[in-house]
């Protein structure tokens, strides 16, 4: 009953190549980055990997690079670093803003952006940023790098497009310099996962994405299209929950979640500068 994980082997990888090699050679191995999604599941024995491959020491995955059109953020960059990065605040301000709202300071000092995205938790904050901004995931496997659009990345509950022998190595965020943004996170306690969250990215290619409104992180497609076509705030907000199949739990039934999605979308749109 909790707290003590089952036995596992522990290996450290010094490079992406070494991590890929270890992944290929171990059955049922898991990558360990910040550990803030994986370790709690292991302590509850909901997950019992045979081997943990610790990639947290790979320096090349901890860099934030300005490539011109995009900001490339290494998958092992900690939330706290993203939150405090001047270049992120300047070019993808929604990301900097939301990174500061993940969990609590302890979580943000350990958790990584890649770990959060690749976990595929529909209740996590950062997938909605990737979806709203139209980010691209850089996935590395034995055959080299491949790029996956955020919209194709989140497959189902705790399931992403990253294969068992692949590693999410970086996320490329298109620059949204100077564009408005909004993020609304509805919680009962300040440090909790969102009951419902909504991310809005304004600008030339606007996007709206939802937190905890289905089995996987998802874009609010109808609302995003309406926004792009110039619909008003109320009309866009009314479409927020279109096509969703929200979960039901002690905090919210599906009706309440749909309602919250609409209310929060309106608030996020207003915060992003829409009227």
């Amino acid at each position: 009953m909790g707290m003590i994980p089952a036995r596992f082997d522990y290996k450290q990888a010094g490079s992406v190549a070494e991590a890929l090699q270890l992944l290929a050679s171990c059955d049922d191995a898991k990558l360990l980055a910040g550990g803030h999604s994986l370790v709690p599941l292991m302590k509850l024995r909901l997950v019992s990997p045979s081997t943990l491959i610790d990639i947290s020491g790979i320096a090349e995955l901890q860099e934030i690079t300005d490539t011109g059109p995009v900001l490339r953020i290494g998958a092992l960059t900690r939330h706290r670093v993203v939150e405090r990065s001047k270049v992120v605040a300047q070019h993808v301000p929604l990301l900097a803003h939301v990174a500061a709202l993940v969990g609590d300071p302890q979580v943000r000092n350990r958790g990584t952006i890649g770990g959060s995205l690749v976990h595929g938790d529909p209740a996590a904050d950062l997938p909605s940023v990737a979806l709203a901004t139209g980010a691209t995931m850089v996935v590395t496997g034995a055959g080299g790098e491949r790029r996956v659009a955020a919209g194709d990345f989140f497959v189902d509950f705790l399931e992403t497009a990253v294969g068992p022998d692949e590693i999410l190595t970086a996320i490329e965020f298109p620059k949204r310099t100077g564009a408005g943004f909004g993020y609304e996170k509805f919680v009962r306690r300040s440090m909790d996962y969102a009951i419902v969250g909504v991310a809005v990215q304004a600008g030339d290619q606007p996007g709206i994405a939802l937190v905890n409104m289905g089995s996987a992180p998802r874009r609010a497609d109808a609302a995003s299209r309406a926004l792009a076509s110039g619909a008003g705030v109320d009309a866009v907000a009314a479409l927020a929950a279109d096509g969703t199949n929200p979960p039901e739990d002690l905090n919210a039934n599906a009706d309440y979640r749909r309602h919250l999605a609409s209310v929060l979308t309106k608030r996020a749109l207003l915060a992003a500068g829409y009227r």
């Binding site: 009953m1 909790g2 089952a6 509805f186 009962r188 300040s190 002690l250 905090n251 309440y256």
Partner: protein
């Protein structure tokens, strides 16, 4: 200068904040083995088979025990005959968390693996997960000895039908007092070491002597070779006066294995195994006139006892019904209660234990009467208060004779901080603006029964007695050690008791140590619960210190060749009044107190040492007035507490910082019950909130700042005048919060909302009103 009322820094803190505290889990004697527990995952099931072969075969496993292995041991102490809680249940599991097997291994990880390897074959039985299910006709039964699921039923203490028939108005209210989990930071932890010289048990416990006496009786061993030590204890909230089965199992396993056995409960286990609190339902009828004067009150309390009734749990509705009239002079009060078993975690003491339930009920009733009559809630309170000159006041209950209080005074002091008229104007203005958040203002004038100390008050719950011990022992250098039986678990007793002793002895605060929590060191003791530590234990320290000081004065007078009555002490110097030059330091008096040739005739060496078993004639009655201001988001239903105003009357304050800490913590737990926490089960009896993801303990960032005031009416039952404050916040806060929430929604015709007032619940109301 007196230290009573001084903001003295805690003596405990340097240790605790530098990580040097010593909790049971920090202890690791040589050859220590680790216990893990296999718990029922079924709410109610016949146990067909328990396969322990896999666990036994694991390397490092020292023992795997099922019910058959403890057949010679009694059931868990504090159980009720015929409904005993087995330490390990063999035939039937009666709640999720019931112990089915225990495993001991050489290390903690192997123990966890082995527990996981025990396979239990269940045959599910129909379960009762709620009071409604338990009381339904033909409900499944949990204990064959009962007819149905009601353990005890007390019919209305008097028939008030004539009063209700004659009253100008009547109203009724059904209330649920939501089940809470105590969630101390430190769960239950025990280390048992049974050697040739006897048994030593280190336990996270609030009453070590009580545990020592119980363990000795349980195993049929002698108390002189049974030692219980409660080192630093990381919170308890009442849950650590319950005899956790694991304590007795660890001791039995240590005896069998011949090595120390340690058990540290995990948080997941703690949520279902540590006894819960509250879990009451109330049916209330009230009769009143046009002015809001209450003429009669009728309360029926139904207490969920969980799967196994506990002696403390059985007492909860007694306390609730005793305090049902709150601060009010109500001519006729009839109470009724029943204790009911369900397939859930047992229920016992949790911060306030029976009294928060009472204050919540009566304070909701007051606001209901206000709503029905149109009289302001403040005025309804003032109309019905027991007047300041109305004490002692015999309530409808023989248990409760209120001995002091000034309820109107506390409310007036509160209104000095609250601009009530401005708030009501703001509320009206917001109602007119559909985009504005709703505003609600709620009050509670609360009263509790505390200071458990009069003879009989704790014996009823199985304790040896209700006094508290104190020993004051001056050392040869003039420093002093205080020994108290009121073993703390975070209260700051080491500080407050040193303040009390310093005042009486004239010894510097920094040269007074307070020891507690070890039955081999402390001369008997009862424990810390029911807000009694200062009111009874602190009074004991004062009495013992006074005795020692009188003897020290005799010695000083002898040394100074003066008369005893002329001796005063200042800055640790005894001198003759008016002649400061003629003096002798405390250190010399102390030194000479051990030297027969230096003593006055008839005085024996070592006399600066006194032990007191402090008795008090009555309970204490802390009271106060709280006000909560909430804002409600009309779109989401989210409640936010904007302001919380707190006026406490706990009598004499020994240390204002510690009183504030207790009030803030208690209020936090009260807000938690009102807005966040609710231990829930599904219809089959499976807990739905057994992790801290689902069971919402609020953090500091979720709580408001507090504005505090104070009134002081002295406790006439001790010379300190202190009433106790440990539970006050949890008694006063829930009704203030819910009264505010109901006030914010009253324009929609809302008369009541059950705790916790969740956003979804309020959104449903707001949506329904459209």
């Amino acid at each position: 200068m007196s230290l009573i009322g001084a903001r003295v820094l805690r003596k405990e803190d340097p240790n605790l904040i530098t990580g040097q505290g010593q909790y049971v889990d920090d202890l690791a004697p040589a050859a220590c083995a680790f216990m893990a527990v296999v718990r029922s995952t079924e709410p109610h099931a016949r146990i067909v088979a328990v396969d322990t072969s896999g666990a036994r075969a694991m390397e490092g496993v020292l023992a795997v025990w099922t019910a058959a292995d403890i057949a010679t041991l009694p059931a868990r102490p504090s159980s009720l005959p015929g409904m005993d809680m087995p330490l390990i249940t063999g035939d039937v599991a009666r709640f999720v968390g019931d112990v089915i097997a225990v495993v001991v291994a050489a290390d903690r990880y192997t123990a966890a693996d082995a527990a996981e390897a025990v396979i239990v074959d269940y045959e599910s039985l129909p379960a009762v997960a709620s009071l409604a299910q338990a009381l339904a006709p033909d409900a499944p039964m949990i204990h064959p000895v009962l007819q149905g699921n009601t353990v005890f039923f007390q019919d209305y203490t008097q028939d008030l039908s004539a009063e209700f028939a004659a009253a100008p108005h009547t109203a009724s209210l059904s209330l649920v007092n939501n089940r809470c989990a105590p969630v101390p930071i430190e769960p239950n932890v025990v280390l048992a070491d049974w050697g040739p010289a006897g048994l030593t048990v280190w336990a996270a416990f609030q009453a070590p002597h009580h545990l020592r006496n119980t363990i000795a009786a349980f195993f049929g061993i002698s108390q002189d070779t049974t030692r219980v030590i409660a080192p630093d204890v990381g919170g308890g909230f009442g849950a650590k006066i319950n005899f956790a089965s694991e304590i007795f199992l660890a001791a039995a396993l240590s005896r069998a294995l011949g090595r120390p056995v340690k058990y540290t409960q995990t948080r997941s286990e703690c949520m279902v195994a540590m006894f819960h609190g509250r879990a009451q339902e109330h049916k209330v009828d009230v009769a009143f006139d046009d002015s809001g004067r209450i003429l009669a009150l009728q309360v029926q309390v139904t207490q969920d006892q969980g799967a196994y009734p506990d002696a403390t749990g059985m007492g909860l509705p007694v306390l609730t019904t005793a305090m049902s009239a709150g601060c009010y002079k109500i001519p006729k009060v009839a109470v009724s209660w029943r204790n009911v078993v369900t397939n859930t975690t047992p229920v016992a003491a949790y911060r306030g234990a029976g009294r928060p339930e009472a204050s919540y009920m009566i304070e909701r009733v007051i606001d209901l009467v206000a709503d029905e009559t149109g009289v302001d809630p403040i005025d309804v309170r003032k109309t019905n208060f027991i007047p300041a000159d109305g004490f002692p006041y015999q309530t409808h209950s023989p248990l409760a004779v209120y001995d002091s209080g000034n309820f109107a005074g506390a409310l007036d002091e509160l209104l000095r901080h609250v601009d009530y008229a401005a708030l009501k104007a703001e509320q009206a203005a917001r109602l007119a603006d559909p985009t504005a958040k709703l505003l609600g203002v709620g009050f509670s004038s609360w009263l509790e029964i505390a200071g458990f100390g009069p003879p009989g008050s704790l014996e009823a719950f199985g304790h040896l007695a209700s006094w508290e011990s104190a020993q004051v022992r001056v050392q040869p250098d003039g420093s002093a050690i205080i020994y108290t039986g009121a073993s703390p678990h975070g209260q700051g007793t080491v500080t407050t008791f040193a303040q009390i002793a310093a005042d009486q002895l004239g010894i510097d605060f920094d040269r007074i140590s307070v020891r507690h929590g070890d039955t081999a060191v402390i001369p008997q003791g009862i424990g810390t619960m029911g807000s009694r530590a200062v009111a009874v234990g602190g009074e004991g320290v004062k009495t013992a210190s006074t005795r020692v000081f009188e003897r020290a004065k005799k010695i000083a007078a002898h040394l100074l060749e003066a008369t005893e009555d002329d001796i005063v002490v200042e800055n640790e110097e005894f001198h003759v009044r008016g002649t400061p030059s003629k003096s002798v330091p405390w250190s010399q008096v102390a030194w000479k107190s051990f030297q027969p040739l230096e003593l006055p005739a008839g005085m024996e060496p070592g006399s600066l040492d006194a032990t007191v078993f402090q008795q008090v004639p009555n309970f204490s009655f802390p009271s106060g007035a709280y006000c909560c201001v909430v804002e409600i988001d009309r779109e989401t239903g989210r409640v936010e507490i904007r302001n919380m105003y707190l006026v406490d009357d706990c009598g004499t304050v020994i240390n204002p910082m510690l009183v504030e800490g207790q009030v803030h913590g208690g209020v936090a737990q009260g807000i938690a019950q009102a807005l966040y926490e609710h231990m829930q089960y599904d219809e089959s009896g499976v807990p739905r909130t057994a992790t801290l993801i689902d069971y919402l303990v609020p953090a500091a960032s979720d709580l408001p700042g507090y504005v505090s005031g104070r009134t002081v009416t002295l406790n006439p039952s001790n010379t300190l005048g202190a009433k106790g404050v440990g539970e006050s916040g949890s008694v006063g806060a829930p009704p203030a919060v819910i009264n505010a929430v109901v006030d914010a929604l009253s324009h929609l015709g809302v008369k009541h909302i059950d705790m916790p007032a969740t956003p979804q619940k309020i959104w449903s109301i707001l949506r329904g009103s459209k």
